[in-house]
């Protein structure tokens, strides 16, 4: 009698169980379902700080450097926005913005608006007689 009750309960739960499992399997097999930022590191090498520090605190480092540069004339290279750009600009577009751009892909993903480029040049480059050449 007790065995029958367990069998009935099992029978009841058995039907939805495979359906759920199939769903989970489909999710695992379909990586495109969850959007992820495309972080293209075109120039592999040592960043100025470890990766986890950069991911969490790059904005603090940049802000600190910007104040030192503008107000005190300290123009050291690590943590300078122009140095970030010169290393991380896409070789295709020459920029850190635009679709897939190093800065923009993450910021789009995190929905954090980037207003650096209202004033700063997102392309590395040397100024030439004809203007900025990427």
């Amino acid at each position: 009698m007790r065995a029958i009750a367990i069998a009935v309960l099992w029978g009841l739960t058995l039907v939805p169980a495979p359906a759920f499992m199939a769903f989970a399997a489909a999710q695992a097999a379909e990586p495109g379902r969850t959007p992820l930022p495309a972080i293209a590191i075109e120039k592999p090498g040592q960043c100025v700080e470890p990766k986890d520090v950069m991911r969490r605190d790059h904005m603090k480092l940049l802000k600190h450097q910007r104040d030192k540069t503008l107000h005190q004339g300290i123009r050291t290279k690590p943590h300078s926005l122009n140095e970030c750009i010169s290393c991380h600009a896409s070789q295709k577009t020459g920029s850190v913005t635009g679709a897939g751009g190093f800065c923009q892909s993450c910021h789009d993903y995190a929905a954090v608006k980037l207003d650096c480029w209202d004033c700063h040049q997102p392309k590395p480059g040397q100024k030439t007689a004809a203007g900025v050449k990427p």
């Binding site: 503008l70 107000h71 005190q72 290279k77 040049q121 480059g125 100024k127």
Partner: protein, 243 residues
């Protein structure tokens, strides 16, 4: 120039060269101006500019063009609202007919009214006397434009996209002559000064007013120079000769 020559050496060599080509005692680039990248500017230095109106040519706009190129001005081509960091002015004394031509830009006041009125702290004076706008803080209220006796500042009305990487600038902020601070910090001279010398006029002299041995300090000790609207007692960094 050999490839392994360090920057300081290069600057010193450049200064020596300039010393040969200009009038005695007048050097384009001061050797003492090269500061290590990691050191803050100090008030030991006070950057200044001396403009010799007897050499400045009417009709010549080399300095204005050089400023535009260096700082990425004039991208929008709307003359009524385009930023002007430096402009040429022709003056004539009506009675005698004596005419002079001169470039006018931010005078880098020691007591700058633009800094006094700025409600945000965006307008500020660096320790070495260069007056700048921190665009990260500026809200574009334009109080400083009203306060400046020299009309030295401009509001940026349009979005920009082809900035010089070293001169970030964009819509919604006020800006003015920076004395090419990005060049000065590397031991260079402002673009206008170089352009004026390259055009053979040598009407602009840049240097450290606090260093008694600098060409500019020697010159202002020797000849009579004028601060425009000296009655305002702003202690200007830019002086004029021959007006």
């Amino acid at each position: 120039m050999s490839g392994d020559m360090n920057r300081r050496g290069f600057i010193a060599a450049g200064a020596a060269l300039a010393g040969l080509t200009l009038a005695p005692g007048i050097r384009l680039i001061e050797i003492a101006s090269a500061k290590p990248d990691n050191e803050p500017v100090t008030s030991k230095v006070r950057w200044g500019l001396l403009i010799d109106t007897t050499r400045c040519q009417s009709g010549c706009t080399e300095c204005v063009a050089a400023c535009g190129k260096e700082n990425g001005l004039g991208e929008v081509k709307k003359p009524r609202t385009d930023a002007q960091w430096i402009r040429k002015i022709d003056l004539k004394e009506l009675k005698t007919g004596r005419a002079v031509s001169l470039p006018m830009m931010c005078q880098h006041c020691a007591n700058p009214p633009c800094v006094d009125v700025c409600p945000t702290g965006a307008s500020f004076k660096r320790a070495d006397g260069i007056v700048l706008v921190d665009r990260h803080i500026c809200i574009g209220c334009r109080y400083c434009m009203m306060a400046c006796p020299y009309k030295a500042r401009s509001f940026v009305h349009e979005p920009h996209s082809d900035q010089n990487p070293e001169v970030p600038r964009g819509q919604g902020c006020v800006e003015g002559c920076t004395l090419c601070v990005h060049r000065v910090d590397r031991g260079g001279a402002p673009a206008c000064v170089e352009a004026c010398a390259a055009a053979g006029h040598n009407a602009m002299l840049f240097g450290d007013l606090n260093d008694p041995e600098s060409a500019i300090a020697k010159r202002i000790r020797e000849v009579k120079t004028t601060q425009v609207r000296a009655d305002l007692k702003l202690d200007l960094g830019v002086r004029y000769e021959g007006i």
